[in-house]
Structures are given as C-alpha cells and as structure tokens.
Symmetry: C2
Subunit: 423 residues, 2 copies
C-alpha cells in the first residue's frame, strides 16, 4: 500500500466512558511516531463539531496532558449524539456528507478516527464508503468504545471493564451496608445500572458475590429476559426469608412480560428516537414495597458509573489505549474501514490479541448476553459469565490525587484556523 | 477514680458509614491494651441485639480482621434504628432498660460503648443516667458517627470526610461527563445526596469545583435554605446559557418555600416517625424539564455514598479510629457519660485534638450549616465552607484489592453463651 501523507483527525462520539480518552491518547501517541502523519487534529463534539469546522491542534498539547488522558473520564474532545441518517433524512445526510468532505479536504485530513459505539461505528463506516465513492484518499478507522459492551465481533468493548469494576464494588459496598442494617423486618435495595437493550453491565455486578450465595447481589435483572413479576416477588421473598435482606440489580431497560420497559417514560425520546428511561429501580421498588410490604430503597448510579475513573480497571485502560494505537498503526499500513477488536486467547491466564474487523459487520449490530450464561431461573449469571467478566476488572491505575480528589486533565483545545465559510 | 475491672461491650447504631468500623477497631485495639478490661464483647445490631442477649466475643477475632475493619464499610456488628422512647412508649422503655441492665449484669459489662449519631448518643446518655440511678457501676461512652455531620459540639463527625470525598469525586466525574456531552441544546443533571435536615453532605461537594466557576457543581441546594423555584430556574437557565450545561447537587431534604420537603413521600415513615424521602432529584428534574424544556437526568447515590470505602478519606479513618481509642482510654481513666469530640486547632495546617463532651449536650441536638458559609443567593457554599471542609478529605487508604475488587473483612461473630431466659 502506498504511503499516505497528510493530517490525522480524531473525534469522539456517543456516551462517554472512563477510558475513551485512553483510546484518544493511544491514537495521539502512535500518530506522533509516524512521519507520514503531519498534524494531529481533534474534532470537537464529534461529527457535529467537524461539520462546524471546530478543530483543535492536538500536537500542541503537552505530553503530560496526553499521559493524563489515560486516567481522565468523559470525552476530552467533547462528544455528540448526532447521526447522519440517510434513511430518515436523506437530504440533510447528503448535505452533511458534502460538508464533512469539504472540511476533510480543506484540512488535508487523510486519516480519520472515530471513537464510539454502534451508532458511531455506523457513521465511520458511511464516511469510509463515501471516501471511496468520492475518490478522496483517506483511511477511516472506528475505535471501539461503549460501557454497554454491545458491539458484535469483539470479545468485549473498552469502557466495559471499568464500569463493571466500579458497579460491582458499589454493589458489594451497598450489600454490606444493607446487610448490616438487616433486622427481622427485612429490607430490599434496588440498584439501577445502565444498559438499555443488553444486560452486560447489570450481569457484571455478579462479581460482587465472589461466589458467596449469601452476598449481594441476590437478583440481577437483565433486559434480555422478560420480567415475570410473580416469580420475581417470590425470589425477593425467599431471599429475605434466608438473609433478612435482598439486593437487586436492575438494568435500566428491564422489560415486563409484555415486552414493555418498566421504567420507560414514553413521552421523552432521545436524538435517535429511543424512549428515555429513568425509572426501572423506582418502578421495581413500587412493586416490592406495594406487594410485599417490604422496606425498599433505591440507588440510581446514572452517569456516575460511566465516569468513575477514580476506580477504573487498569486492564480496561490498557486495552483502550492499545485499540487507539493499533487503529493508527493499521491505517498507516494502508487499512481503512475497520475497527480494532479484542480477541480473547484464554481466560486463565487472561490473554488477548487485537485484530481488525470490517466496520460493515459492526455498524448497528447489537450483541446480547447469551442465554446460557444466565441461570435457568433468569435471576443470576452463572460461572460461564463469571469466567468471561472476571479478568476485565483486574488492576488499579495509579491515579494522581491532589488534596484528596483525583487530578483529571483538560485539553488546551488550541483552535485550528477555519478555512471554510460557516455552513 | 478507682480501677474498674470487668468486660467491655461495644455496639453500633443508626445508618452505617465508611468508617464506623474504624471506630470499633479503635475501641478493640485500645481495650486490648488495658488489663482491667477482661473480655471484649460485641453487641449485634445495637441495642436490639443486646436486648436479645446476642453478644459475640471480639477477643476471638484475628488481629488481621481488626486491622481490616479500618477499611471495611457498613456496620461489622450489625446496626439498628431501635429507640428507647420514654416519652412515647414509657412502659416499653422501662422494660427495655431493665432488660439491658440484666444483660449488662449477667455478662459483667462494666464498659459500654455505643457508636452512632444523634439518636444513638441519646440512647447512650440514657443508659449512663440509668447506671447511676441503679447504682450499677459502668462507664458509658458515646462514639461519634454520622455522615450527616449534624452532631453539635464536635468540629465534624467521623464518616463525614469520607462521604464528602466520594461525593465530590463523583460530582467532578459526572460534571466532566455531562460537560463533554454539552452541545447547543443544553442539559442539566441533578445529583441527589443524603442529608435530611442538614446540608453538610450536599455543601461538601463544592470541593469538586476546585475554585473554578465553570466547573460542576453549579448549584447546591441544602435543606437549611428554602427553595425559591423561580430563582432556582433562573439560575439553571443562566448556567446553561454560560456553560451549556448545569450540574445541580440536592440534599434529599430540600424544602420548598412552604417548608415542605419536595421529595417526601409522606405515606412512608421510618422507625423514628420521620417521612421517608426518596425523590428530591426526580422532583427537581420534573420542574427543570417541565418549565425550561431542558434535557435533565438524575443520579441518586443513596446507600452507595455512605458505604464507598473504596475511596474513603484517610484523615477520616484515622480520626474515627482515634475516637474509639480515646473513648476507651478516658473510660478506663474513670470518665462516663461523654463522647469524644474533634476540636480543630487550625485549618492550615490541619490540626485537631480529641476532647470529651458531655452526652447531655449532644443527645438530640442537630447542628446546621451556618448561613454565612453559603453565598448570599443561597446556591453555593463560600470560601469559609471550603476552608472548613477541604482538609477532611485528604489522604487515600491503601486498600487491599483482590481480583480487582476491594477486600473487606467480616467478623467471625463467635457467640457468647446466653445466660438469661429469652425476653
């Protein structure tokens, strides 16, 4: 493959994670090692900022800041949920694509990296196809990122190990707390975690049990398995009878037997037209408190879980960084239209390789928890799941702490001069 | 004061904290150094377990376990919210007191330590007075514990520094996350923290700002200042206009101008007859989303915040331990009816001493955030508050981690033979 000289542009998209900046650090670090890459540019707020030609010069950032990105949560370049939708808004999509390539051309962008989940990989794939169609020589790579862990083809997604580590720790801590308050009256605590369609995040909290049936969580509800209210209440009752308390972890997208999300407020829709969920735990608490007359409290971790870099997984950070490195390395080698994926070679000892997957196999495909990784009654993941998830949370980063709080970095965001008229 | 030989009994009461076990470790460690103290007993689930003669032999625990208590959240001995209420249930209270002293006498308890908040210090005080009245020689000490930080006389309470450290970190992380998603549409995130009557916990999250007006949290609502909805909405609007996003921290007991808790579900009461609060954040989100048409998400940390030993404050752990040590030391020296309190000698450098306060000055008195520690508009604590709270979160414990999760200890709870007929 011929050498391709020019600038590199990297941007972030979708919901942030604790380690999405580690991937950006990987991209920047590896790009700096390649002479063919002239300037390293960042696009602010994903596609949205690129459409507005809001680019920054990442080559101007201090090495210390790039190193600090490995431990800094959220999207350092800003992110967006903007979708180029050829199906629903074909004219807008065509205009957006034209504008994107005007920006790429104006800034001689020959390498484009987009870190994100399903929707973002779809965007990267479309840009790759358009580059070919337009005869614009540019290498496009998706960089995997999602706490939801629902990308296909890859063993798991950067961002997932850290959310599981933090959530499992939280469930363990809350379990000790609630258990220590348990007296004869019994009590229930319902912890709501993220996961709209896939139950990976909820299921991962099984690690808090550490193999102890008496320990929290006692019940894990995943969106893949429809909730049978009567069986659920019977399970809560049996757990309280045995241990005097019951800790339930619920994925936000848990559905009833009719297939309706129990926590959905259907009057609110997000940018992709999905209903905004907020109340799975509260809905369950109402059921438990109402039907079992059991003192019930809720915890809703919300954004805290995907931003908890103070207790991230070092394994996750390393893999996220490495995905960024490999994306650049393979692009320089001539690849385009791919995403680095993590391939597990063995669980004990944990060993992975990073390989490439064609973006068209990833875009818009969701990957769910296999049914046979969850017990027959549907209330707890089994040892297959534990073997899968346990290695992903290993390792603690050496986080710089100042005055008792984590020291997170921010980019200087030195703007690149705009060369185009505003759209 | 004459030497007093006999057994020591320690128990925990009220809501747990990240460091209440550190106080118990302090009691056990110091008790082990005193020859006059024969056996070190633990009462399970506070007064409730003592009434049932559920005692365990803490002298039988391994030294490693006692050391591990310093980093283990929740109440290792179990806790309760049982109140000996002479006002409302005088006959039951009299029976309870008789039974308690039967248990004390049967087990030759001559030192009694009760770790807890306002209600628990009241219980300790009553037991102290009863011991005098009954001519039963026993030294009674309260050990301060409450994340709420609402005990009077002491500079702050063990448990408070750790909840502030974790919550401020969480608010900082959520702030970065929400800020990185901020685009022109604007967004709001409301984080609900504990604090029914006093706003200490909510106010403490001001540390996440690190002096940066643009950083989260942008608004902190404390129960001490009635919420003027119109002014609040104007402040949210102004913040979104300036930064495109707004992070609000709300104490669970925030009240409207009529003095009603906005998140109270008045149909549910706890053991002390207070209404159970669960929805301040959701109530505020409804107001913001409804009146400003602003995308609004909520986080409810609930029990997670008071159990987050994985990111506790070492200053807090040390002080909690030391309060346990001093309680024993002073009791052995002949004191009874006191609680160790923390007296601040200076903030920079942070220097404290531990002194004794008479329990009658502490029982049932609540301590609130001074009005002049909060800005005139009532939306952010000022530099006086920051100077007060900043030193309390300093220092990170070296937490033992196994397989990526904190290693917390559990007591063996070797039962002491019952000597009385069941009550």
């Amino acid at each position: 493959m011929a050498e391709l000289n020019g600038n590199l542009l990297v941007a972030q998209s979708g919901g942030p994670t604790s380690v999405i900046n580690a991937s950006i650090a990987g991209v920047i670090t590896e790009a700096g090692r390649n002479d063919g890459i002239e300037n390293i540019l960042g696009g602010l707020n994903g596609i949205l900022g690129i459409l507005n030609e809001e680019l920054v010069d990442l080559g101007d950032e201090r090495a210390k800041t790039i190193e600090g990105l490995k431990n800094t949560p959220a999207a350092a370049l800003g992110t967006c949920r903007y979708k180029i939708n050829f199906d629903k808004k074909p004219e807008q999509a065509a205009r957006d694509m034209d504008r994107l390539f005007q920006v790429f051309e104006a800034h001689n962008v020959r390498y484009f990296f987009y870190a994100g989940g399903n929707d973002s990989q779809d965007t990267a794939h479309k840009i790759h196809l358009q580059a070919i169609k337009r005869g614009y020589e540019m290498r496009v790579m998706g960089v995997p990122k999602t706490i939801d862990n629902d990308l296909p083809c890859t063993d798991h997604c950067p961002g997932y190990g850290s959310v599981v580590k933090y959530n499992a720790t939280t469930v363990m801590e809350v379990g000790l707390d609630v258990g220590s308050m348990a007296t004869d009256d019994g009590s229930c605590c319902i912890i709501e975690v993220m996961g709209r369609a896939a139950g990976w995040i909820a299921a991962g909290t099984v690690l808090a049990k550490q193999g102890n049936p008496a320990a929290a969580p006692h019940i894990i509800l995943v969106p893949e398995i429809l909730l049978d209210e009567a069986k659920f209440l019977a399970q809560v009752k049996a757990t309280v009878a045995a241990y005097k308390y019951c800790v339930v972890v619920a994925g936000e997208g848990v559905k009833n037997l009719a297939g309706e999300e129990i926590g959905a407020d259907k009057t609110r829709l997000d940018a992709f037209g999905h209903p905004v969920l907020s109340g799975a735990a509260d809905a369950l608490a109402q059921i438990v408190q109402g039907k079992l007359n059991l003192k019930t409290r809720t915890v809703k971790l919300g954004y805290a879980q995907r931003a908890a870099a103070h207790f991230a997984s070092q394994t996750d950070i390393d893999e996220a960084f490495q995905c960024g490195v490999i994306a650049v390395r393979e692009a320089v080698n001539g690849k385009s239209g791919f995403m680095p994926k993590i391939v597990r070679q063995s669980s004990k000892p944990y060993k992975t390789t990073i390989e490439l997957e064609n973006l068209e196999n990833i875009a818009n495909v969701e990957h769910f928890v296999p049914r046979d990784w969850i017990d027959a009654d549907g209330f707890l993941p089994n040892e297959k799941f534990v073997e899968y998830v346990a290695p992903l949370i290993v390792g603690e980063p050496k986080l710089p702490i100042v005055g008792g709080l984590p020291h997170y970095v921010t980019l200087n965001r030195v703007p690149v001069d705009k060369l185009l008229a505003p759209r």
